[in-house]
Structure formats: C-alpha cells, structure tokens
C-alpha cells in the first residue's frame, strides 16, 4: 500500500524540548494520489503540528517522511517546500507586492522566464476565479478575505505542485464565502487531482471536503481513518462518536441516494377519476393521504379523505402541496428535508419524465441507514480478520 502513497509518514513524532508529553506520537499515515485527506480533531490534538511536519516547518523528533517513496526527513527543507503547495489560515500574502507578484513568487524563485511567468499568473488567477485584468495590479490590502485566500491558493499552485498542505484555509472567512470557496475548490480539485492534506477543526467541513477523514485524538493518535460515509455509519468508539456530534446519522443521509431505495406502492388518483374511487383506495391501503396526478401521471397534490368528500376536487388549491420532487440521484438527506415539511410525512419521487414513481417515508430512511451501518461493520470485521 505504502508504495502507492504520495506521502508516507512513518512513526513520525514531535516532542518539543522541555516538554515531557509529545505533541505528535508515533504517527504512521499515508496520503494517496489524487485524494483529499482531512485531518480533523479537537483543539490541541496536534493536527496542525502533523501537517507542518510534512513540509518540515516543524522538524520531526523521530520517524521518517517519504514523498513518492523518497526520504525527505533530512536534506534541504527549502527544496522540499518548493515542491509542496502551502496554504494557511491567515493567508500571509506579501503586502508590499501586487497580486501578480505574489502569485509569481515561486516561478520567479525557480528562474522561469518573464513571459512564462506572466502567462502562468494569468492562468492561475482565472482558475481561482479572479479576473486578471482587474486584480493583477491590486495590493493585498484592497482585497476581501475570500479574494485574498483565492490568491493564497493561486500562489500555492504557482509551479503546479503535486502535493498541497492546507491548514484551516477557510477558517478566517465568513460562512457564506467559505461555502462558495469550498465548492469552487472541490470543483478545482476535480480537474487538478492534487494530493492534499487538509486540516480543519470543523467536522462538517471535513465531511464535505474529504475523500478520507482521519479523526485525531491526543498526540495526533489516529482514532479512525476512513471515508466520511463509513465514519458516519460506524464510528468506532465514543471519542469519534462524541467528536462527530449529534445528528451524525442524519448527516450520513447525504451519502445515500434515492436510487438505492425500493419504493413501496402508494395510493394515487388521476384528475379524471371519481373521488369515490380515491376514498376507496385510501380505505383499502390504510393510508391517510393519496397523490393526485394528472393525465401524464405528474403529481399535483396530497389529498385526504376529507378533501375527497367535498363537492369538487380542486387540482390547484385542494388538499396539500407536495413540496419539491426527488429524482433517483437525490440524497436521502434531501428526501428527509422534504419529508419533514410534508403534510403526509412523505416525499415525492418522480422519474426522468416527471411521472410519479413513489414516495420516500421514514421507514425507507431507517432501512437504508441500518443497511449502511451493517455494511460498515462488516467492513471493519473483515479488516480485523485480515490484520490478525
């Protein structure tokens, strides 16, 4: 496995002189090609320290660091850092230089020629969503936090490193801009496929950004390292469970799709059918509600027995609104969102042409969650078996 790893930390440790307890103890960790590995944990667990051991901003007290199989524990730290993109929370743009000069720092340091640097700067600015014409000659003090961190990312990408280290990069930015930057960064990563170690204290950011998450405890001990889905489905101990916090099962619904469900039959009625038929179907199925559909089977309203007993069925105002429709690639989280607003405590699923397929109800969600938990547990049992 470790031969495939872009970054391999082998029994790396850090003890600050004068202290007895190590900040990082005996850590072995792999980062694979093209993945975002998120290091997350409570304050003081050593996640930032671990990150900074990788580019030797902090020198390890013990252990080895391998990049693409090459031992970089000793040797020039400056050379090492030029291969790695580094983005920090406070951004750290050089205030005395323009945006273009900031982004050009690494190419210039490596002796690229002027024309190539200019082209690269423009390219990077466009990539991070800053118009070169507008921003090239601005100074950092003129930028907002979100814009500044875009420049920070562009600068880190200067000479196209394969590896990036990001230390709470969006931590100092307001939630709305942070959300947007996260989305844009994920889109960028989809194209560039860098190998990234990303530190955050926010479990939701970890779930959103990470291909894998490492939940770190004291002294950077790995409590669980796995995909977000599996960690949410199966936290291995109380520490992880507490750290993920309440609502973790509900968060896990983000990773399950409507397409994985078997939708049960649900009573329905077309607009041209007699209301009495509808009442009959309700009584037959024991359901409180049915779905009124049009001649193309597109869902229109929830109708109860009371609505059907009235003089006429109004297809616009009668009964209750259906909420937003789900399709097969929507998540169960989105299904739950609709469900809790619905009079019938169910959410509507339609097919590609918009025709009514069925509903998602609480039983479906519970079944899907239990299945995911079981799969995760089986996975860990297999892992135990192969390790012993």
């Amino acid at each position: 496995m470790s031969s495939e790893a872009r970054i391999h930390l082998e029994r790396v440790g850090k003890t600050y002189p004068g202290t007895k307890v190590p900040a990082v103890e005996d850590l072995t960790l792999d980062v694979y090609d093209g993945e975002i590995l998120v290091l997350v944990g409570p304050s003081g667990c050593g996640k930032s320290t671990t990150l900074r051991l990788i580019n030797r901003m902090i020198e390890p007290s013990g252990g080895r660091i391998l990049l693409d199989g090459e031992d970089v524990t000793h040797g020039s730290p400056d050379k090492l850092r030029r291969r790695i993109g580094y983005v920090i929370q406070q951004i750290g743009l050089f205030p005395h230089q323009t945006i273009a000069q900031n982004i050009a720092t690494l190419p210039k340091m490596l002796g690229w020629e002027k024309a190539r640097i200019t082209a690269r700067v423009d390219e990077l600015m466009t990539t991070v969503g800053l118009d070169p014409e507008q921003y090239r000659d601005r100074y950092p003090k003129e930028l907002s936090g979100g814009q500044a961190q875009r420049v920070g990312v562009a600068r880190a990408l200067g000479v196209d490193p394969d590896i990036m280290l990001m230390d709470e990069p969006f931590g100092a930015i307001d939630p709305i801009t942070r959300d947007r930057l996260q989305n844009e960064f994920l889109r960028l990563q989809g194209e560039l496929r860098k190998s990234i170690v990303f530190v955050t204290h926010d479990i939701d950011e970890a779930i959103k950004m990470g291909d894998r998450i490492a939940i770190l405890g004291e002294r950077s001990k790995i409590r669980q390292i796995d995909t977000p889905e599996r960690i949410l489905a199966y936290p291995v101990d109380d520490f992880v469970n507490d750290f993920i916090g309440t609502g973790s099962t509900i968060k896990g619904l983000n990773f399950l799709k409507v397409s994985s469900l078997t939708l049960t039959h649900y009573p329905r009625m077309t607009t041209d059918e007699d209301p009495q038929k509808g009442i009959a179907r309700l009584q037959e199925s024991g359901s409180d509600w049915l779905v009124l559909v049009d001649d193309q089977h597109r869902p229109l309203r929830w109708l109860s027995e009371d609505d059907l007993s009235g003089a006429e069925v109004d297809s616009e105002e009668g009964g209750e609104a259906l909420g937003e429709f789900l399709e097969s690639d929507n998540t169960l989280f989105q299904a739950l969102e609709q469900m809790v607003q619905s009079a019938a405590a169910a959410s509507i699923v339609v097919n590609a042409t918009g025709a009514f397929e069925g509903v998602v109800q609480m039983e479906h969600l519970a079944k899907a969650v239990r299945r995911a938990q079981m799969e995760a547990r089986l996975h860990y049992e297999e892992l135990e078996a192969t390790n012993t």
Binding site: D78, K79, R81, Y86, I88, F94
Partner: protein, 218 residues
C-alpha cells in the same frame, strides 16, 4: 535687535553661511549613511537573538547618555582635532534610533507573512531580503529620520573640537557677547541648523515615499 538688521547680516555674510551649512550637511550625511549601514547589519544580526539584541540596544542607549562634548573630546587623543572626533561620536549617537527601529520593524512583520514565505521554500536570506526588510522599511526609515535630526542638532557642537559647521556661528556669537552682530550670529547658527534639519527630513521623507511599496501606504 531688529529683524531687518538680521536679514542684512545674513545677506552680507551669505557665502560664509552657505559654506558652513554645506560643511554641516556633509558631516550629517556621512555619519547617517555609515550609521544606517552599520545599524541595519547589526539589527538584522540580533533580531532573532534575544540576548545579543538586549545587549546591543542597551549599549547604544548608554552611548546616548554620554554628554556630547565629552564624547567628542574622548576621541581627540585617537584621531586628533577637527571633524573626525566629532563624526565618530556622532556616529555612535546615530546608532540607537536606527538600530531600535530596525529591530522593531523586523519584529512587526506579520508572522503569517513570514510563515508563508518560509513555507514556500525561501531560505532565511531570501526571507530577509524579499519579505522582511521591505516590510520593515517604513519603520527603519523613520529611525533614520530621527537619527538625522538628532545628528543635525548635536553636530553644532563639532566646532568646539575644531570641526566645521553652523556651530561656528553660534560659538562666535557667544564668545563675542555684547559686541555688534553677536546676537545675529547666534541666530544664524540656530536658524540655519533648524532649516537644514527640516530640509534633510523632507529629503528623507521623499526617499521613504519613493522606496515604500504602494501596498504598504495607509
């Protein structure tokens, strides 16, 4: 004393006054140039070594407490009389403001900026020359300006150890107290020293403005 009298005195003795002013300026500029180079180098050297730093700043501070005439006279046995003992003493005085501002300026550079410079693979020399010094520069220049004003003033005493400068007008006026134009002479010394100080400060301010990045101006 009538002011018209004084202006007449200035007009009559203008070449002498100009000569003295230029001599005074020359002393100041040479001293400031040397003190800046020295203090910059020393400041960079001690900025990350707290013990050395404390020693350097304390010593430079103590030098300033030594009465100027005494410090000037101290160097006469070594280099004789004239401008030289004065300039050595002035050099020692000029160190403290520049040294202290160099150290403070380097300290005040945002740690995040230094962290990102280091994280990009800049070695300490590159960090210093490309990031830390340019960012500390406004504070350093402020120290240079303070030193130059200090030196302009104290240099007036150079005349007492045989040196040149506008001090000669002050001295002449004081020793010939009561005689005609004595007061005018003193005032010439004072006024032109002040004017020289103002002009030098304006020159340095302009230099500071042109050497400071637009990104740093408030």
């Amino acid at each position: 004393m009538e002011s018209s009298n004084w202006f007449a005195y200035v007009r009559d003795n203008f070449d002498l006054i100009l000569e003295a002013t230029i001599a005074h300026a020359r002393i100041v500029l040479i001293v400031i140039a040397l003190a800046t180079v020295f203090s910059l180098l020393l400041g960079v050297l001690v900025s990350r070594r707290p013990v050395l730093r404390a020693i350097a700043l304390t010593v430079a501070g103590i030098l300033l407490t030594i009465p100027s005439l005494a410090l000037f006279a101290l160097f006469i046995p070594l280099v004789g009389i004239g401008n030289r003992p004065a300039m050595i003493a002035l050099f020692l005085y000029a160190i403290l403001p520049i040294l202290r501002n160099t150290v403070t300026g380097l300290d005040s550079v945002s740690p995040a900026v230094v962290e990102s410079a280091k994280g990009m693979g800049m070695n300490p020399r590159q960090q210093l020359l490309r990031v830390r010094l340019p960012l500390a520069w406004p504070v350093i220049m402020a120290g240079v300006r303070i030193s130059s004003l200090l030196v302009v003033g104290i240099a007036a005493i150079a005349v007492l150890v045989g040196g040149d400068g506008l001090g000669s007008f002050i001295q002449a006026g004081l020793t010939r107290r009561g005689l005609p134009n004595a007061a005018n002479s003193v005032f010439v010394g004072v006024v032109f020293t002040v004017l020289l100080g103002l002009v030098l400060d304006m020159v340095f301010a302009t230099v500071q403005r042109f050497t400071t990045s637009r990104g740093l101006r408030i």
